[in-house]
């Protein structure tokens, strides 16, 4: 039987087991929306702005093992989606975005709501398609899902002209895909794996640096097993948080621009570094030459060869899927009986414990002003460290990363690579739909939340009882911090004047809101927010936080990992510089 292109789109999504489609209708996709109306298998979530549809679909992927789907119309619908697509692209998140397009005969004629979606998104997708022939529609959607989730994951756009959705054809959904020009590697080269194992066994100061690839690649168990088995220290990037349990003794915290003192010092002074699905980002290692000025052997495990040797030359490149490669490494350690050198490791841990003892995340508590760090710590306590946390971009994002030690992968959802303000709320909605029983909280700022605040309406319609934790410092705080440090406190356009009453906004959308100004109220209000009475409600907490608080440690542009700006309490300390072969005696 012949069915319409629109029905083929819907049937294909059903074949993929799609549960939710996040979208917004318009002329070019009316046919598809009609087909959606006539089916029951998946639910459509009507957002209030296409950017939010894409962030929600993205977070649906980030917080589950499925591929999020967004559907937008041509022209403005498509361009509104672009920020969301670029966000997913930078963080390697699998996603399929279906965009409507003007009818094929009208393409190129500056038709109403025409935009070259394939052209616009080309640099920020893993791949994209313009489907001109209805007979290729089903196979293209199949390919899109396959490409999105295999290899290095990423967003795939399928642009479908309106006449293709109206044409008719037989529906055959392919059982499998094979693309001769696209064959992702999974197993690492055994010779390289052997080299990596030998390097670790000989290391004096080994270090495991784990990134988003371990989260996406479902390799947290393997990371933990290897780190535990070897007794070595481990750090996570912002995107890797949760890949190794945040409360564990062998975890040194996040590294990078706002990483802990011990995590950054260990990165600089390790002698064997294993990079696991992490890409030596500039916010992590700063300047490569300074990072490499301290000699070290580097093993880099990544499924994407172009991530390897992009910023830093490595000694042992291993192209492969982290889960498989780590499994092979663990097996090889077991088979050969090789171990890390206990004496070297003891010395290394003594050095690390000394670094750790300075407690670089210490902040000055206050009974007058609400400290943003305190709010995050209390949130951790009250949610038992189990909540899924989304965030926006700015200081609050860094405090969330620093003070909420994530227990498991896919618990922390944020825009790291693109740094997209406005991600947090739609992401929380997507995550809640993917995890209906989980507690979901969005840690945000008064600046960021206003970039997609209209999604409070979506949250109402779909009953997603997420908790919005706004650390409201009345400033574009991260911008203000840079202006304080680097622009002589000239706070150019970083003050958030004329803020709305967030409690009233929450209420206007049918939610619950509380304004919190007193540190003593932080805990009780959080308890109430997470109490059974408000379990089914979206609660918006407007915490009026200390306006002058800064994020520490901080590595300034152009500085190295061991040249951090330290928090006030560490500035007076006489910290001995790192010394190779130092005798630690019996300290610690």
């Amino acid at each position: 039987m012949q069915i319409s292109g629109a029905e083929i789109v819907v049937r294909s999504l059903q074949e993929e087991g799609v549960e939710f489609v996040f979208g917004y209708p318009g002329g070019a996709v009316l046919e598809i929306y009609d087909a959606i109306f006539r089916q029951q298998e998946f639910k459509h979530v009507l957002v209030r702005h296409e950017q939010a549809a894409v962030h929600a679909a993205d977070a649906y992927s980030r917080s589950s093992d499925k591929v999020g789907v967004a559907l937008v119309t041509s022209g403005p619908g498509a361009t509104n989606a672009v920020t969301g697509i670029a966000t997913a692209y930078m963080d390697s998140i699998p996603m399929v975005v279906i965009s409507g397009q003007v009818p094929t005969p009208a393409i190129g004629l500056d038709a109403f709501q025409e935009v070259d979606m394939v052209g616009i998104t080309r640099p920020c997708v893993k791949h994209n398609f313009l489907v001109k022939d209805i007979n290729e529609l089903a196979a293209t959607i199949k390919k899109a899902f396959y490409i999105a989730k295999t290899g290095r994951p990423g967003p795939v756009v399928v642009d479908v002209p309106k006449d293709v959705t109206q044409a008719k054809a037989e529906f055959h959904y392919p059982e499998s895909v094979s693309i001769r020009s696209y064959v992702p590697v999974t197993r690492g080269h055994p010779g390289q794996i052997k080299k990596a194992v030998n390097l670790l066994a000989e290391a004096k100061r080994p270090y495991i640096y784990v990134g988003g690839g371990a989260v996406q690649g479902d390799a947290a168990a393997e990371v933990t097993e290897l780190v535990k088995m070897l007794g070595v220290p481990c750090t996570n990037t912002l995107m890797g948080l949760g890949a190794y349990p945040g409360q564990d003794q062998q975890f040194l915290g996040m590294l990078g621009m706002h990483g802990t003192y011990e995590a950054n010092m260990a990165m600089q002074y390790c002698d064997v570094l294993i990079a696991v699905g992490a890409r030596f980002d500039d916010r992590v290692i700063s300047i490569p030459s300074h990072f490499l000025s301290q000699p070290k052997k580097i093993v880099h495990i990544d499924v994407d060869p172009s991530s390897i040797a992009k910023r830093v030359k490595v000694d042992v490149p291993i192209v492969g899927d982290v889960k498989h490669v780590l499994r092979d490494m663990i097996d090889l350690f077991k088979q050969t009986g090789l171990k890390t050198n206990e004496q070297h490791l003891n010395n290394w841990w003594k050095q690390i414990e000394e670094w750790r003892s300075y407690n670089s995340l210490l902040y000055t508590p206050s009974t007058e002003l609400i400290k943003p760090q305190y709010v995050v710590q209390k949130l951790y306590e009250i949610t038992g460290g189990d909540a899924i946390i989304t965030s926006d971009v700015g200081q609050h994002q860094m405090w969330a990363a620093q003070y909420y030690p994530f227990k498991r992968p896919k618990q922390w959802l944020n825009s790291g690579g693109l740094g997209t303000m406005g991600f947090g709320l739609p992401a929380a909605i997507g995550a809640q739909l993917a995890n209906p029983d989980a507690q979901v909280a969005c840690i945000t700022g008064e600046g960021s939340i206003q970039m997609n605040i209209q999604e409070l309406s979506t949250a109402k319609q779909y009953h997603t009882p997420v908790k919005v934790i706004a650390l409201n410092n009345r400033y574009l705080g991260m911008v203000r911090q840079w202006q304080e440090f680097f622009y002589g406190t000239r706070y150019s356009e970083s003050y958030m004047d004329a803020l709305p009453d967030f409690v009233k906004i929450a209420e206007a959308y049918g939610h619950v809101g509380f304004k919190v100004e007193n540190p003593a109220d932080v805990e009780p209000v959080l308890r109430e927010t997470f109490s059974p009475a408000l379990k089914e409600r979206l609660v918006f907490l407007d915490f009026r936080t200390d306006q002058s608080e800064n994020v520490f440690p901080m590595i300034q542009n152009g500085k190295g990992l061991d040249q951090m700006d330290l928090p006030p309490h560490m500035r007076e300390l006489q910290i001995a510089p790192f010394e190779n072969n130092r005798d630690y005696g019996n300290m610690c």
Binding site: V118, P123, L130, S181, D304, P305, S306, A309
Partner: protein
């Protein structure tokens, strides 16, 4: 250093723009680019002449390989190869210059493929260097127009780029 990359890619709409987009987005250089279908109509073969440090060339090859439609990439510089480019050059050929131009074309093994009272159009094939040398060798002021294909390259002997 100058490198010649040979790329086999799916003969699909948009594949070329992905390659070109990659070079501009990542600020790589394209000195020349040629592309056409192969004996297998589903495949195109492209030759790109680029330059950059070893690290940059390594990234270029990796990034090209990452494009879904790219089937294979080789850097011809890695072993013996042959490179050819064709130029059509229209020159003023009058008076005693006319004889001289014919002689130069012969020396460079060019062929005069179009003749008018005042002009010759010469077809010249060779390495890009040879074509440059021809332009250097003749009097600049007689050149009316040049058009070059950009270099195509192929490995010597048994070395074959195929799927």
């Amino acid at each position: 250093m100058r490198h010649i990359l040979s790329i086999l890619l799916e003969n699909e709409a948009g594949a070329l723009s992905r390659v070109v987009g990659l070079f501009s987005a990542r600020a790589y250089n394209i000195d020349s680019l040629t592309v056409s279908t192969t004996e297998d109509p589903t495949l195109s073969r492209m030759t790109i002449v680029t330059h950059g440090s070893d690290e940059v060339i390594e990234q270029i090859t990796k990034q090209l390989n990452k494009l879904i439609e790219v089937v294979k990439v080789i850097d011809l510089n890695e072993s013996d190869h042959i490179e050819r480019e064709m130029m059509l050059i229209k020159v003023r050929a009058t008076g005693k210059d006319r004889e001289e131009m014919k002689r130069m074309a012969d020396i460079f093994r060019g062929r005069i493929i179009d003749v008018t009272e005042k002009t010759y159009t010469i077809e010249l094939t060779g390495t890009s260097d040879k074509l440059n040398a021809f332009i250097e060798a003749i009097d600049r002021s007689v050149i009316l127009e040049t058009v070059r294909t950009g270099a195509s390259g192929i490995g010597r002997g048994e070395r074959i780029l195929k799927i």
